[in-house]
């Protein structure tokens, strides 16, 4: 990893770049929130940030610690009830881009955020689905962010919480899922995108200083690698400055409470 920025910063910045200006973005807590706000503060000033707590068009000055922080409501264009958020806004097909995280992901970008081990006798009970199955189904496009590790990038999910491309090409159409599903998986090592014909996740970009072999080594299935793997553009000075400024403001604000 080159000096000057962390792998998490690269991951956040790579995700932020995929947020188009003007897009309505369904944002989760943590990295998605950092990426979406970074996008809003750089190239996508008109991105509409939406949190499942019901806040639409938020412009929080710091990153929220919970999905329903007070500043999200106070800086929103509109605040609606949670049932309305899921019915009229998400299911209604108004969201351009959704972010998802996961404990496990498979080669078709299906994800598990429910349990590790058997559902009825889990070795680890995870928080569960939350909004994920319907974010995965209804957003026009989905980005998945998680750190690369063999225990996360698995041959077979312990539990399918939300579907990506199901079992490959045509899988979403067969289930009549409205959105086009995950278009990229952004990790701390690189970017995987579904192959245009098979929908299998394919390594298309590695972050600066990361080798293809290093990515393959921490992927739990024989990873498809694009014929030409790009190197992710390193963070610009501006991206880094805005992101760090945002995160420092956040730390200061939350230290006070």
């Amino acid at each position: 990893m080159p000096e000057g920025y962390t792998a998490d910063e690269m991951m956040t910045i790579a995700a932020a770049r995929l947020v188009r200006n003007g897009a309505a973005v369904f944002v989760g807590i943590g990295l998605p929130s950092a990426a979406a706000n970074l996008a809003r503060l750089t190239h996508a000033p008109d991105a509409v940030l939406i949190y499942e707590s019901g806040t639409i068009g938020t412009r929080a000055s710091v990153l929220p610690l919970s999905i329903g922080d007070g500043e999200l409501a106070e800086t929103a264009d509109a605040v609606v009830s949670v049932p309305e958020m899921f019915a009229y806004w998400l299911q209604g097909g108004r969201i351009d881009l959704g972010f998802l995280g996961a404990a496990q992901i498979d080669r078709y970008a299906n994800i598990n955020s429910t349990v590790i081990g058997d559902y009825r006798q889990p070795s680890t009970r995870l928080p569960g689905a939350g909004g994920a199955p319907e974010i995965a189904a209804s957003c026009k496009e989905v980005l998945i962010t998680l750190r690369h590790a063999r225990r996360a990038f698995v041959e077979t999910l312990d539990f399918v919480t939300s579907v990506g491309h199901v079992s490959g090409s045509g899988g979403r159409e067969q289930l009549r899922l409205p959105g086009k599903g995950p278009t990229a998986v952004i990790t701390d090592l690189g970017i995987l995108t579904p192959h245009p014909s098979t929908c299998e996740l394919t390594l298309t970009s590695v972050h600066p200083g990361v080798t293809v072999d290093a990515v393959v080594a921490v992927t739990g299935w024989p990873l498809e690698v694009a014929a030409e793997v790009a190197t992710t553009e390193p963070p610009s000075a501006k991206e880094l400055a805005v992101l760090r400024d945002l995160q420092q403001r956040t730390l200061r604000a939350h230290a006070q409470s």
Binding site: P127, G131, E134
Partner: protein
């Protein structure tokens, strides 16, 4: 018609052993004080319902009040796991916890159905997910016009719902604003409804820039209780911010059964109300 009563009395009358109980709140206005009162009164065999069971449900589960949890996301928001919830599911401690697990969209639709007097809610959801394999309360129906396959879930109809709000007037009308979650639906879906509020005022009036004011008329509520700080350590917009430090500290407190037990005995069972609970926490280093 709402009676204005002390919280202890409201919980004593409204919450019975074996009840289906929904303490709702979506990161904002979480009814912590009411949850603590349920622990103090040692209710047993409750079915707890909530979209986002968080620290208060972790405490109620760890205190042995719950037999079942109906939920869609169970975590410590912004921090990580709920260790008491996990211990109950993974190791059956202090008692086995049956789980009925949904996604948010389905829980929201189920509350709406409950509030609407419908037996079930419909959503475009769960397609491809493993959840329907393990939850018999997820079924699929066909649209009678288009033949599309849609998910159906039974209405949520709690025996009692409890929420926290910013204000009530002396007639018992309740006002809340900011992130209002699924609280209106939880109240309207329930057989009995208890609302704790930050303050009781002569005239209900949202502040000038309140997003999304919601009024619940007195005649759909059974008991209103004035409980200043009743959402602490979550927040009440316009009153106090979220105590983020507490959520972080909870991770440490709750990882270990004994630490948890000592904490709940000292700060919840050993206190009588929110004011004593707050003083007890402040007297303890690191809130532990």
């Amino acid at each position: 018609m709402a009676e204005i009563v002390p919280l202890r009395e409201a919980i004593r009358h409204a919450v019975r052993d074996g009840d289906v109980v929904a303490l709702e709140g979506f990161t904002h206005l979480i009814p912590f004080a009411a949850g603590h009162e349920i622990i103090r009164q040692q209710r047993r065999h409750l079915t707890l319902v909530r979209m986002t069971p968080d620290v208060i449900y972790d405490q109620v589960i760890g205190a042995g009040c719950a037999a079942k949890l109906v939920f869609s996301w169970g975590g410590n928001p912004g921090v990580g796991s709920l260790h008491r919830f996990r211990d109950a599911v993974e190791h059956g401690w202090p008692a086995p916890l049956a789980v009925e697990e949904h996604a948010h969209a389905a829980m929201a639709a189920a509350y709406v159905a409950g509030a609407s007097g419908l037996p079930f809610g419909v959503l475009r959801g769960y397609l491809g997910s493993d959840l329907p394999k393990y939850n018999p309360n997820i079924k699929f129906i066909e649209c009678p016009f288009t033949g599309e396959r849609l998910a159906a879930v039974p209405a949520i109809r709690p025996d009692v719902s409890v929420i926290h709000a910013q204000k009530a007037d002396r007639r018992g009308n309740v006002l809340l604003w900011g992130v209002t979650g699924v609280q209106k639906e939880a109240i309207l879906a329930a057989a009995r409804a208890v609302v704790t509020v930050e303050e009781i005022v002569d005239t209900l009036e949202p502040p000038r820039h309140a997003p999304n004011p919601v009024v619940l008329p007195a005649w759909v509520i059974d008991a209103v209780c004035e409980v200043k700080g009743g959402a602490f350590p979550s927040y009440a917009l316009g009153y106090y911010p979220r105590n983020n430090a507490f959520y972080t500290q909870w991770d440490g407190i709750s990882r270990d059964r004994e630490t948890f037990g000592a904490w709940i005995d000292r700060h919840v069972r050993g206190t009588r109300d929110v004011a004593e609970f707050r003083r007890s926490l402040e007297a303890a280093p690191q809130h532990a």
